[in-house]
Amino acid sequence: MGKPRREEEGYEGDPLIPILNLVCMLIPLLLYGAVFVRFMTLDVNAPKIAQAPAQQQPEENKALNLTVMITDQGFHFKVNPIHRLPWMSQATDTASAGPDIPKKDDDWDFEEFNRKLKELKDLHREEVNIILGAEDDIPYEVLIKAMDYSRGGSEEETQLFPIVTLTRGVV
């Protein structure tokens, strides 16, 4: 005669039904509110609202003052005239000058933008500030992409210009 099988201990069926009902209601509720995407934040300094570029005395002000304007044609660079590089436009207003980095295949050439920023960073290792501006109809995602490229890599030694200040419109 074999050993009598030990009866398995299990939950009692009936008292669990209200708990199961509650759980079944909680799951859709929590699923609705759950966030499966991680969100990151990008620091931005308050926009400068000055409509005209500040009057600078190049002899007194030796800072780079790097400003990049994003227009429908491409990227326009502006720096303190004493630091101007040969590929930068000499025009004082963005509207009349062609872009320093024109669009490529109907899209902004971010790789070239990144290369030019690296060139500037190599010449000004201590500089961390960049002023970004854009035309009125430039989408927010392009600005975020430009901020990502101007920040550079995530390591400190590969960072380019991580401190971003926005400026109102195209100057």
């Binding site: 939950y11 990151m40 994003i70 009125d136 990502d148 926005l166």
Partner: protein, 194 residues
Amino acid sequence: MAQGINSADIDAIWAEKQKAKKEKRRRRKVERDKLLINSLMDAFTIILCFLMKSFGSDPVQIRQSDELMLPRTSEDKQGLEDAIVIAISKRAIMVQDNKVADLRDGTVDESLKRDGADGLLINPLLDALKERVQHLKMLSARTNRPFEGMALVVADSKTSYRLLTEVLYTAGQAEFEKFKFVAAEGAKYGASLK
């Protein structure tokens, strides 16, 4: 001896056996049900724990939708902080999930601006933000912590730069000085950003 068992006895034995079989089958079925409910309870408990964890881990709850699709970023260091949330969707501007101004074709109606179509200041947004600032300053005074004036900007990826600067300018007028743009992680830009 064989003649001692009549057909009525055989029927009775047969019926008893059938009854025993039925009882056995019923017991087996009940056991199987118990097993199912055990697994189900385990699965539900695990799902519930996972969902509750993801529900309460961030100080600010942001939900993406067709109206509010966040751009992607390669930033990988900072998470969300507890601050006033200014959201710009395709249809409205919201402060802490309360709609303050409607948008038409991605622009604010000029009647809602202080200086008309070319103006930067959005009146209802300024009022809502000032109210929040007043509340935050009162809390800061009670907790002896300085008012930071920080706002999280949650904007749809197609928001125009013009609207963005209008919102930032208005927030600046309401004493907000620090801004953090919120974007979803996971942008892939190629080797140049490594």
